[in-house]
Amino acid sequence: MPKITVYVTLKPTLLDAQGRTVEGAVHHLGYEDVTNVRIGKIIEMEMPGGAEEARERARVLCDKLLANPVTESYRIEVQP
């Protein structure tokens, strides 16, 4: 059964308040050259059928529910 992993992240144009805060902590640890810390979500699912079909169904789920098109982008990985 294909395993699907969906990565949901804030759009690059949008301020990631959490990422900015974590980046500050990273700098406090002494890693001051670390930049562009962004925080997102990982959503894992399993569904029956072939890998391509699963990818297409996951895409529909992302568009309808898992990601908000105004603020978020997503990327889908499928393990057959």
Binding site: L10, L14, A17, Q18, T21, L65, N68, V70, T71
Partner: protein, 242 residues
């Protein structure tokens, strides 16, 4: 309305926590009968207006408002709104209306990450909506906010359209009405606190809580006229019932 008291529907979702406050404002300020509508039903029971109240529906799982919009009752609310019925979304209600596509944009995590719970000042940008007719244009209101995800966000084209169509109803401001970055509690684009949509500007979404500023014991009564405006707006709309 058929001569009797108006009936104002208040949506109740798992995790709603301002439903009773909204119902109380409808009863005490509007003289209306609150009708609590459970999310699993599709029946709006013929109410004259709908309030989607604040809270943390479904524990804000995934995103605030993301799950609530799939409640069976929300289909009926969408139809009611499309027909011109008055729908007021407060706080989580605003988030739900955006997720449902009844209003444009989205509410992102506050810029400062903190949950902000305090009184803020709002400038009335449009006093000609069914929700603001009893305010003066430019009037400054003191109303509380209580949210962690209230940063109104939309793309530039949407923002320009909202401004061109005069659909920005409230902006966060200083006590003297100046709209400044310091007065912006959450990082909302252009200090936007509330917008209208729908075919007749009949859908209002706002992060501040007018129902928590509607009686003298609550520290401000500036929210009252939103409900009296709503009441007045119902009189001319007997044709739209749920």
């Amino acid at each position: 309305m058929n001569g009797g008291a108006a009936r104002v529907g208040v949506i109740v979702l798992p995790g709603s926590n301002c439903d009773t406050d909204a119902g109380n404002a409808a009863r005490e300020v509007m003289g209306a009968e609150p009708v609590y509508l459970w999310h699993e039903s599709r029946d709006l029971q013929g109410v004259d207006a709908v309030i989607v109240p604040g809270g943390f529906s479904y524990g804000d799982a995934l995103r605030a408002g993301a799950i609530a919009r799939f409640a069976p009752l929300m289909d009926s609310v969408a139809r009611f709104a499309e027909q011109g019925g008055l729908v007021l979304g407060i706080c989580n209600g605003f988030q739900i209306l955006c997720e449902a596509g009844l209003l444009p944009g989205a509410l992102a995590r506050n810029e400062g990450l903190r949950f902000v719970c305090r009184h803020v000042y709002l400038r009335v940008e449009n006093a000609e909506t069914p929700f603001t007719a009893h305010y003066r244009p430019g009037e400054v209101l003191k109303v509380p906010i209580a949210h962690g995800e209230g940063r109104f966000t939309c793309d530039e084209a949407t923002c320009e359209r909202l401004q061109a169509e005069n659909r920005i109803v409230f902006r966060y401001c200083e006590p003297d009405g100046r709209v400044t970055q310091d007065a912006n509690p959450n990082g909302s684009v252009h200090n936007i606190a509330g917008i209208v949509g729908g075919p007749r500007n009949n859908v209002l979404g706002m992060m501040p809580h007018p129902e928590r500023a509607s009686s003298c014991g609550l520290g401000s009564e500036d929210g009252r006229r939103l409900f009296t405006s709503l009441q007045a707006g119902l009189v001319g709309r007997a044709d739209v019932r749920a």
